[in-house]
Symmetry: C2
Subunit: 773 residues, 2 copies
């Protein structure tokens, strides 16, 4: 696929607008114009479908957490490898709506497209399209459509199409469809896109067609879930129902009058047995759709706008002086809201619900990149993300046993329902740091919310069970150092190494945190302590063993270079020959054997540099600068998780230009398709990295260690910026411009923070404070 031109969209700060239909960018734009509500995801393909060339479209409808499973076949197997893959299913396409003028079918790639516009309104949450089209016979119509995936009801999607005959009166035929003949993508050479061997389809249990109502009842063959996809259509006249295997159609022949719109409204629902007993699915579908029809499309649109107004009130980031960037930031935040599961059973996948890249799997991206965005903007969603990990604790315990740990829980590197699905363990299961990442997010959550109820109910047990893995995998070497061998850190261009700095440092913090929690529970909540200790068979000596390991943790440092070593051997490897690597050989993983990459000093992404952010208070500024300079020179940023972290640390160490460039790369990654694969879905971690880049990068916000700290800088390219932070029930606004920084308590009674080390206390009575630049 050829690289689309950059900055293709007019720089509207609240809207993504396309004014021409271009086959070359259609596949990509299907992702960008995708709608979602954290559960349903629908790619931005039009109601009439797409007749373009192969490879210019990939329609899809997805339900977060609704998956099929299939055995993983290894050409050479080994004990303990993940045995079953889970992948997000492409579910029936319910948005189909064809328009016929006699025997001419409306198709924007045929006839004449006189006018065209498609837009996604970030404040209203509506995908809208307006066009005028003339058929070869000369008949002209105007088509206006709106589509909503309702934030307030995860099961509901609605679309409305107005067709207006412009130069004739006569019959217009509308054919609406519920189409179950869909499949998943099959695996190609790119390991980042769909690795399923088979595009397994759903088994049909029943099909219902009853006037305006249609439903397909299907079951996944291996995971054993039932799905009901249903539509309720409002259109003039009565539907002629027909069915072709998995495709249910309703045909409306409407006597249309020149200049008067024919309106069709379609309400769509998806319900599965992951949420409800099987017998309830069909009745619930009917009820949800009937209720939606009674309220009508406009009511749904109004509630959608209300929901979003609340979201933006909490989460909006404003950039003064850069509309392109403003658009990118809001687009990214909006997509995060569309992608994130919030029911405690689902999470946020690497591509959200916008495409099949990475098979709908959840990774550490959630905890380290996305979680802080929700924690500081929508803490209720952050808690739901942690509840998802609680739901996976049993599976993590089982996985720990498979990995020969008699105690503890090991979370999977990639999964949907909790079981390890990584089929290449050196860059999967070997990333033991996932345990520390989860514990880190729990600590952030507790610091930010003080939610001791959750700590007692779920958090403490997760933190302690996961901490046990470190004393299981690690050991004391001859020199008394606690070493963790044969793991893979965040940087996937190095694998199976000893003492990955990030892993060891995060494990150290995790062990300290777990011991502190054990102490605090025993002291403050002895009954909870007793209950959890019994459930875990916690040896009273364990917390001290955790502290002991943490105290002696080996944290590799190179005295000669004055930098932290990514692992024991990284710095003794040959540097990648960047000068002789042609641009088309990036990302390296698509052009070099893993061994070739592994034996060089080359990073796909931040590793030590990420530790500098997460454990910020443990490093001096000079350390940070030396580490940044060293690792920046050997990092390709082939991972979409890289540039945001480099932006943040660049800002901290004073590389303002680099901070800005890395930030721009992050903020417009998907809009400008800089990684060339947004067609397969948005990059949710980088989207969250955008918010991190503003708050933690330019704003210098840090919370590790518990205190809220800021050290704002202003990029030369901007006049100012403003972001908000939810913390302990307060909503803080931070505004930065050339004059200085203004802190304002928008909500809440009192909040303490520091500005470049200076303590500031805001109260309801004194809600504002300004520091000059």
């Amino acid at each position: 696929m050829s690289q689309p031109p950059n900055h293709r969209f007019p720089p509207d700060p609240w809207c993504l607008r396309e004014t021409a239909l271009d086959e070359a960018t259609h596949f990509l734009n299907e992702t960008l114009f995708a709608l979602g509500n954290g559960y349903i995801g629908v790619r931005g393909t039009a109601e009439e479908g797409w007749s373009g060339a192969a490879g210019t479209s990939r329609d899809g409808t997805y339900l977060n957490g609704f998956y099929e499973s299939e055995p993983i076949h290894y050409p050479e197997t080994a004990y303990g490898l993940a045995r079953t893959n889970q992948f997000m299913l492409n579910v029936p396409n319910a948005k189909g709506l064809a328009i016929w003028l006699g025997d001419e079918r409306f198709d924007p790639l045929w006839g004449t497209l006189d006018q065209y516009e498609r837009s996604l309104d970030l404040r209203r949450g509506v995908l809208e399209r307006s066009l005028r089209w003339t058929a070869p016979s000369g008949k002209s119509i105007a088509v206006h459509s709106r589509r909503i995936v309702c934030f307030e009801n995860k099961h509901l999607l609605a679309l409305q199409v107005d067709v207006t005959p412009l130069n004739f009166s006569g019959t217009i035929r509308i054919v609406t469809a519920l189409d179950g003949a869909v499949r998943n993508l099959e695996a190609g050479d790119d390991p980042r896109v769909g690795s399923s061997v088979s595009g397994a389809s759903l088994e049909l249990l029943a099909a219902e067609q009853d006037g305006d109502f249609s439903a397909l009842v299907q079951r996944t063959r291996n995971s054993g879930f039932t799905l009901v996809s249903a539509t309720l259509t409002e259109a003039p006249g009565t539907a002629q129902c027909s069915r072709e295997e998995l495709r249910l159609e309703g045909t409306y022949d409407v006597a249309a009058e020149q200049g008067k719109a024919v309106r069709v409204t379609k309400y769509v629902s998806y319900h599965t047995s992951r949420d409800y007993p099987e017998g309830e699915l069909l009745p619930r579908s009917r009820a949800v759709l009937e209720q939606a029809r009674q309220g009508g499309f406009e009511a749904l649109a109004a509630r959608q706008a209300t929901y979003l107004a609340d979201f933006w009130r909490q989460a909006d980031v404003e950039i003064d002086g850069d509309d392109l960037l403003q658009q990118g930031i809001r687009f990214n935040e909006y997509h995060l809201l569309q992608s994130v599961g919030r029911d405690g059973k689902t999470n946020i996948s690497a591509k959200g619900v916008t495409g099949e890249g990475y098979e709908g799997h959840y990774f550490w991206d959630t905890e380290i990149y996305i979680f802080p965005f929700f924690l500081y903007n929508k803490p209720d969603i952050a808690r739901a993300l942690l509840e998802y990990r609680w739901a996976g604790l049993e599976a993590a315990r089982r996985r720990a046993r498979q990995m020969s740990h008699p105690k503890g829980a090991l979370y999977p590197w990639r999964t949907i329902a909790g079981e390890e699905c990584s089929a290449y363990f050196p860059a999967g299961t070997a990333q033991y740091h996932i345990n520390a990442d989860i514990a880190y997010s729990i600590r952030q959550y507790l610091d930010a919310t003080g939610d001791d109820d959750w700590l007692r109910a779920q958090g403490a047990e997760i933190v302690m069970e996961t901490a046990r893995i470190w004393t299981g995998i690690g050991s004391f070497d001859r020199h008394g150092r606690f070493v963790i061998n044969e793991v893979t850190g965040p940087d996937e261009y190095t694998a199976l190494v000893n003492n990955n700095y990030y892993t060891n440092a995060m494990a150290q913090a995790h062990l300290e945190f777990a011991a502190a929690i054990a102490d605090r529970l025993a002291r403050e909540f002895p009954e909870d302590h007793a209950r959890i200790a019994a459930a875990m068979a916690l040896d009273p000596a364990e917390p001290e063993a955790w502290r002991h390991a943490a105290r002696h943790m080996h944290l590799p440092y190179d005295e000669e270079l004055g930098i932290h070593a990514q692992d024991d051997s990284f710095l003794s490897k040959r540097r990648w020959d960047f000068a002789n690597t042609p641009a088309e050989n990036y990302p390296l993983l698509l052009h070099y054997h893993p061994m070739v990459i592994y034996r060089h000093q080359v990073c796909k992404q931040a590793d030590v540099v990420l530790a500098l952010l997460l454990l910020s208070s443990r490093f001096g500024l000079d350390d940070k600068r030396r580490d940044f300079d060293y690792y920046e020179a050997v990092t390709t940023h082939d991972s979409s998780l890289s540039s945001c972290i480099f932006s943040i640390i660049a800002a901290e160490v004073g590389h303002a230009g680099k901070a800005y460039d890395y930030f721009m790369e992050t903020a417009r990654m998907d809009l400008d398709d800089t990684h060339g694969n947004t067609c397969h879905g948005v990059h949710t971690a980088a989207m969250a990295g955008t918010w991190l880049g503003v708050a933690q990068g330019f704003g210098g916000m840090r919370t590790d260690g518990g205190a809220l700290r800021f050290a704002p800088t202003l990029p030369a390219q901007w006049r100012g910026y403003r972001f908000r932070v939810h913390l302990r029930g307060c909503l803080l606004q931070v505004s930065v411009n050339a004059a200085g920084t203004r802190y304002r308590l928008l909500q809440g009674n009192a909040l303490s923070l520091s500005h470049r080390g200076k303590a500031i206390a805001l109260t309801a009575a004194q809600p504002e404070h300004e520091e000059a630049a």
Copy 2:
């Protein structure tokens, strides 16, 4: 499968004899009684087939180097991974011969088996069976069969069955079959057995039945080879031909007379388009079979005996005082002769041609374990094994490019036709030492034969092209050391490490050798030098760069422990908890995730200890003893390649009891099924390790550095032993007993050797020398 009792066979020094039919050991014994000639391999299943329970048999006929290929599907793929597997095919079963007495079919598991004996005569090369059987009706027969896979004609197999009615006269029906309805084993959980996803069968092109002659013409679907399997039967009367799909039968109704044998002789041939043009296959098959029939079975048997007499004259090892061991040693040597390809296009697979374990792949086992046996016993076969590597040089060059080496050749870790087939690269392609292993065998060959013609024609180019890989993969670190990172050494319980001692030491020797060869060619054979240098685009500075790298090669050594470190980090890992590992958890690879194994100090097999043997003259005896003691304590010997090397070094460092125990483990590995998987094929490397154990272990024979050295010791359990060594046209016999060592030149004019450092010169005039103990 339950462990069979040890030492099941009477300790006949020249014969393997079974006197009872036991379902529990039948599957295993099919392997032990397999016949082969380096090309055809036939498992020891009887002509009438086997009606025992599932899992008690796995019939098979294999042709060395005749393979099907199939794509390798990775659940998560990456650039440069091996894309196509090759696997040795199970070809049509041509030995089928059923005996019917009226409606009663002879089946030793039915009716009454009055007497039974099966034997494999190692001097005659005949599998023989005698039995008496009574049908439920009371009719008794004697059955006597003999089977030969002809060493002198690789395409030919012959079998003869005599059926004698003992207590009746009447019709005996003989049904001979050529059965193409065979499949390959499918993959299970044991990565060592058949990893093919599909048991792809051959496509039928034609079937011929013409009186006593039958043939199947088939083609492999992917590799595109044609195979003709043909039989010619001699039996009383005329065949009634019939065919059921892929099974061709010939039925003979014979009026048998009580006490008189009915004799059926069946000549079988296999020809493939890997050897001949497709159009020649059928005519050649007819000609070979017709010629065999004209000569008759006895003539084939006589030639077989002659061939073997010559083999034993060169290769026999005699043990005085241990018949069990004597039997084991001869059995092993015999199976090596049966297994080894000798046409320059084929090699010797890990299981020979006796089973489907490891899919018929060739490994480094050839060069490091098996090659010395043939070099010092049948040097013509040793040369053919090197010619096989020459045939693979182009594929190795292509593989090097895939692995981003702009120059040089990288041999595959496992293959049949030369392409890399290892589907788990950390224990496959990562074993770069294969290149040094091949160069080592070439050096041994040149030292032992002085075959400069082969050096000039093939050897020099292989050695230099493979040496180039070391300067490609290695690099100079900050301290000026030449390091080789991210490779896997021989020990597969550690993977992707930096500076594996064995690899670096062997690479050093390889680089030195390549530079010496470049010099010698330039000096002695300038035309060859010019030709090869042009073909390789050899830079005149390269040999010096090889020497430079060799000089600075990093050879990890631990000063504190006084031992060579298996790699940079091995000694800092936690020791495996052997005390708490139950016996049933071995081999570890079937009970622990690779990461669990990799992060511990635990070895599957000799690694540093193997270097002590191959590069013997570079180590002092104290070094060897310390290394042996350290690594022995952390080695599981889960690999069949381990015990023979430990035996040899134990003998050298004075651990006589251990030397004997490891040797016994090696020598009777298959006969006693100590690894529990001989049912899937013999362990050819361990079989060769038996000869190494005698010559290099007890005999103390070393040749590294060019000189022939001995340092014999006599195990307390033996009265004496004797072995022979072919070297530079001479045949030397070494006899050791309590009195001392006697060296005798059986053939050749002059040979120099040393005995414990003392120089000895043997000549035709003075062919014998004795050293007192």
